[in-house]
Structure formats: C-alpha cells, structure tokens
Amino acid sequence: MKSFIINRIAYALLILFFVTILVFSLARLLPGDPIQAAAMFNADLSNQEIVSELRARYGLDKPIYIQYVIWLKDFIQGDWGTSLGSGEDVLEMFFRRLPITLELFAGSVFWSLIIGLPLGVISAVKRNSWLDAILTTTSIFGVSIPVFWEGIILIYLFAVIFPILPPSGYVPFAESPIDNILSVILPTFVMGTHGAGLFARYVRSSLLEVLGQDYIRTARAKGLREKSILLVHAAKPAMIPVVTIIGLAWGYVVSGSFLVEYMFAIPGLGRMGVDAVFARDFPVIQATLVMVTVNILLVNLAVDLLYGYLDPRVRVRGNLGQ
C-alpha cells in the first residue's frame, strides 16, 4: 500500500511539472501582452520608454524559459506575484476567495451525492420498471444539460417566476448564514447536476452487476433480507467502480465553477480566473490554472486511496510491492 501511494504521488508531481510548463507558455501565447492591454486605457503608456521600463520591471523582456524558471521558483516559495490589474498580491487574492469556491464545491458534491446515489440505487432495485425508465431518462438529462442553459432556466424559475431565491450574488456566511445558504443553492445545484446524473448512471449499472453475482445469491441463501443484502453485501463492491468516476465528476464541478461563478456573480476563484483571462492578468491566470491542477490531482489521489480501502485485493497487491 505504501509503495502504491508513493507511486501515485510521484506520478502526480510529474503531471504537475508538465502542467506548469504548459500553463506558463499558454498564458504567453495569448495575443497581446498586459502592458499593451493597459495602454489602451492609459494615455501615459503611449510613451515607448515607459512601456519598455514596465516590461523590464515585470520581467517580460527576458527570454521565455528564464521567465519560467524564475516564475516557478517564486511560485513554489509562495510568491505568486501581484495582479497586473489590481496590484494585489495573488496569493492573498487566492486565499481570500478560496473559502467561497470551496463552499460551492462542497455544495455541488452534496447535490451530486444526495440526488445521484438514491436515483442509481432505486433504478437498480426496480430495474426495467417504468420508474427505472423515468429515472434513467432524468439522469441522462442531468449528464447532458449545459451549465449555462440550466442556470438561466433555474434563475428564471426560482428567482423570477417564483422569487424564493436570489438571482445572483453571494452573501458571506459570517454576514448571514441563512442568506448565505440561499445564495449558493442555485449555483451549487447547477454545478452538481452533471455529477448527479453521472453517479446515478454508474451506481445503477454497477449495482446491477453486483446484484447478479454469485455471492449475492449466497447471501440470499443465508436468509438475509434484501435490505441487508444491499447494505452489507452489495454496497461496498458496487461502490468500487463508482469511486473511479469521482475524479471525472470532479473535473465537471471545477470547470462548472468558472461558468457558474461568472453567471451568478460570485466572487470566488472561478470568477477571478475568468476576469484574469479577459484582462490578460498573467500571474493570476497562472496561479488559477496551477491550483486547479493541484486540486484535481489531490482529488484523484484521494480516489486512489479510497479505491485501495474499498477493495481488499488492491490493498494486498500494494503490500506485496513493499
């Protein structure tokens, strides 16, 4: 198990390294540079001398690979630079907004699980019934509905026709816990929809497969009731393949946060990232993308560990590798 973990961590670090290179170069490949962008709004910057001085100050005149090494070293040491737009420290910006986005993540995982798991279980237990047909259609709908479209429909329904939820904006928890919850219901639901559909689909097929296994027949032959069979004998093996899609579903949650935070005017990391792209704010873009990668790698690592925990066969294979 230990070597299995070390292996996964090394692999994650390697991916992270390549992603930093990619992220750094991608930002540079966007047409125009930030000084140019700023010059459009600031008459002072039409002066060529000032422009080159600014370029030198931000290191934009050095060869690109030197810029990369300097940037990576600083980044690891916690110096994420200052925003080209607001002049704020990027690390501070990041951590100020992090709790907001984490709340959205937690909320969307909540929706995904609270909707997806029961739908999948009910579909499997009532397989091939009309109920199964309805639930299956619903979950396919959930998987394929575009985030922005769902967002608009829900805002229209619950903020315009039945005005019970705010159409946009974010209220910090410390300010008003109730308003905070109300303000995140719609955005987290939209972010969690895809995952809910995905979980429902996978739980259904995985549970159906497990319920057809010989050891479930053994459990029946022992006199166990259907409920214990589901909970004790089927749940854990059925979760093993489902766990592997958590990583996939998480990707949708993260990418959803960019659209959703923008759409609902929530001042989180997604919003920060989108604003940064429009403003060609390189330090912020880079920090955002690297942290998105770190986030996804951490989640996938957790998934691997969970997998090892659920499946004793993986656990033993790890032991042998020690």
């Binding site: 296994q213 010989d214 050891y215 027949r217 053994t218 459990a219 029946r220 032959a221 022992k222 006199g223 166990l224 009731r225 004790v232 004998h233 854990k236 093996p237 093993i240 659920l310 499946d311 004793p312 066969r313 033993v316």
Partner: protein, 328 residues
C-alpha cells in the same frame, strides 16, 4: 438407519420451474416429485443443463425472477409448503433450517468481506447470539472443516484462500446453524480430485454427526455411488429414474442411466474403451422433441417413444423409471 415409515423431512410434489425468455419458455424443471427423509443423502445426477441446480434453487426459492418462476408444485418441508410462505418467513428458513453450498467457490464468497464475517452471519442472523460467542463458534466451525489456522483465517479475505479452502469456508457457513437439510450443488466439481474426496468425506462426516439430510448434486456417478443413499437421474427437467444407489448400479433400467454408467471410467477396464459418452446432442430445452425427450439419442427406442412421453412407474421396491421399453 433411515426410517422410511416416518413422514419425510422434505416432499417435493410436481415442481415446475420455467424461464420465460425472448426465445420462448424454458421448462428447466418440468414436474419432479421426490421425498427426502431425515438424515438421508439424496444424489441428483444428470448431464449439465438438465435442471439439477434449478430444482435445488427452487426449494429455497432462489430463482432469479424475471426470467424464472416456479409455476407449479409444492415443496413441503417439515409439514409446511415453502412455496406458500411470505418472503419474511422464507428468510427464516434459508441458512437456518436449509442451507446451500454452491458450485463455484471462487465467486460464491463476497470479495470485500472477511471470512469471519461471512461465516458468522447466519448464526448472528438466525440464532441471535452475541458477537463474541459467534466469533468463538465460527473459529470452532472453521477448525471442524479442517481449515488450517482458523483464528488467523477469520480476518482473511476470500482472495487469500485457495478454491478448496474457500469451499471449506462455504461448508462451515452452511453448517453454522445446524440445518435440517443441506443442499450441495456440485460442491467439488471445480476442485481437483484429491481435494474433492477430502471435502466429500468431510461433508459426509459432518452431516452424519448432526443428523442433517443432504441433497448432493453432481454429474459424477462415482460420487453418488459412494455417498448417496438414494439417487434421482434427471434428463431435460424431468426425473427419468429413481432408485437406491445400490439398485441403480446393480440394475440400471433407463437407457439414459445405462448410458451414463457406461461413461464412468472403471478401474477394471481399459481407459480408452470405458469412456463411451452417450451419443447425440444434449437436449435443447427450447426445442424439446415430441414424445420422450431422450428418444433421439436412445438405442432402445420404439415407435411409441416418438409420440408419447412416459411417466415414472414403479418397477420394483424403491425403484422407478420413466421409459416405455423394458431394457432387461
């Protein structure tokens, strides 16, 4: 000795279990009847696909529905018809009064639960004993089925055990509530020959100790000869011959039984000559021939066999066959 004058422990009457598939109705079990007395060992033999497992699963109502359904019959166990019980009452019989040992030791244990958990489960469920006592009794059971290091094995997972060891665990599980009847569906078919013999001896000994009746399903007539008191020979979902093990060997009467016996390798025969499997294809249950289902493969057939299906008839004490022809 087995007292055949007493009411039988199990009476199966005209049991019919069908599968309703897209291709048509498969009559996997097509009207079988037999009795089983306390402490008796009944062998059920027949080629693969003739309905041995389905007839056994039907007793415990473990038929996957859909597509399967018990469409007719009675399964009277200790005086009550199991087919009339509610699901809840049926659960109290399974694993408690009647236990089952399955054919596939590799897949019949849950891969994510420990051996200890799985062996303890029936006792905790049916006998309502505490966990500590259940652990003690499980360790004893595991040593009774001669599993090495039973205490350490309690925390093992199935994949850490060989096929033979897993089948020992299955036997321990089946014994855990001291059932009145154990149904063993080809318990040793998947294992190699020396382990087969060990396990069958073990099962025979354990069932004798607690006076449990045993239904031993196999396609190996040698096993039946050695371990069964009485034998049912099945073909295409029906019983074609029913006799004590002794009579079946000394005077087999159905052409199918004769064919089966001829295909059993005997030590006193040249191996090549002795292996003469019955000619022709095993029956296609979706497309059974008219008349006797065995007639296309039968060496003794007469015109009547093509049109009329024979019923079981007594030919001597404790000996019945379903055949129009007197083979002797």
């Amino acid at each position: 000795m087995i007292d055949r004058t007493m009411t039988p422990l199990l009476e199966v009457r005209n049991l019919q279990t069908h599968f309703f598939t897209d291709q048509g109705i498969i009559r996997a079990v097509n009207g079988i009847s037999y009795d089983l007395h306390e402490g008796e060992t009944l062998g059920i033999v027949g080629e693969s696909g003739c309905g041995k497992s389905i007839s056994a699963f039907s007793i415990l109502r473990l038929i996957p529905n859909p597509p399967g359904k018990i469409v007719n019959g009675e399964v009277i166990f200790e005086g009550t018809d199991l087919l009339q019980l509610s699901d809840r009452e049926m659960c109290a019989v399974r694993g408690n009064k009647i236990a089952m040992i399955f054919q596939e030791p590799m897949t019949s244990l849950n891969p994510v639960l420990t051996i200890g958990h799985q062996v303890m489960e029936p006792m905790v469920l049916h006998q309502k004993i505490g966990k500590k006592q259940a652990i003690q009794e499980s360790i004893q059971l595991l040593s009774k089925v001669q599993l090495s290091e039973p205490e350490a094995r309690m925390n093992s997972f199935p994949h850490q055990l060989s096929g033979g060891m897993r089948q020992r665990v299955m036997i321990a599980m089946g014994m855990s509530c001291k059932p009145k009847l154990i149904i063993a569906d080809e318990p040793t078919t998947a294992l190699d020959v020396t382990i087969q013999a060990q396990l069958l001896e073990l099962m025979k000994g354990l069932t004798r100790d607690i006076g449990t009746a045993l239904i031993l399903i196999t396609h190996n007539l040698g096993i039946v000869a050695r371990y069964a008191d009485r034998v049912l020979v099945m073909y295409a979902g029906r019983i074609v011959e029913k006799a004590t093990a002794k009579k079946l060997y000394s005077s087999p009467s159905h052409p199918y039984t004769i064919g089966l016996l001829a295909s059993v390798p005997r030590l006193d025969q040249d191996l090549k000559k002795s292996l003469s499997p019955i000619e022709g294809q095993p029956p296609d249950l979706l497309n059974l021939p008219k008349g006797c289902a065995f007639h296309p493969r039968c060496r003794y057939r007469i015109p009547k066999c093509f049109t009329q299906s024979p019923e079981l008839e007594q030919i001597s004490d404790n000996h019945e066959k379903a055949c129009w022809v007197d083979v002797h």
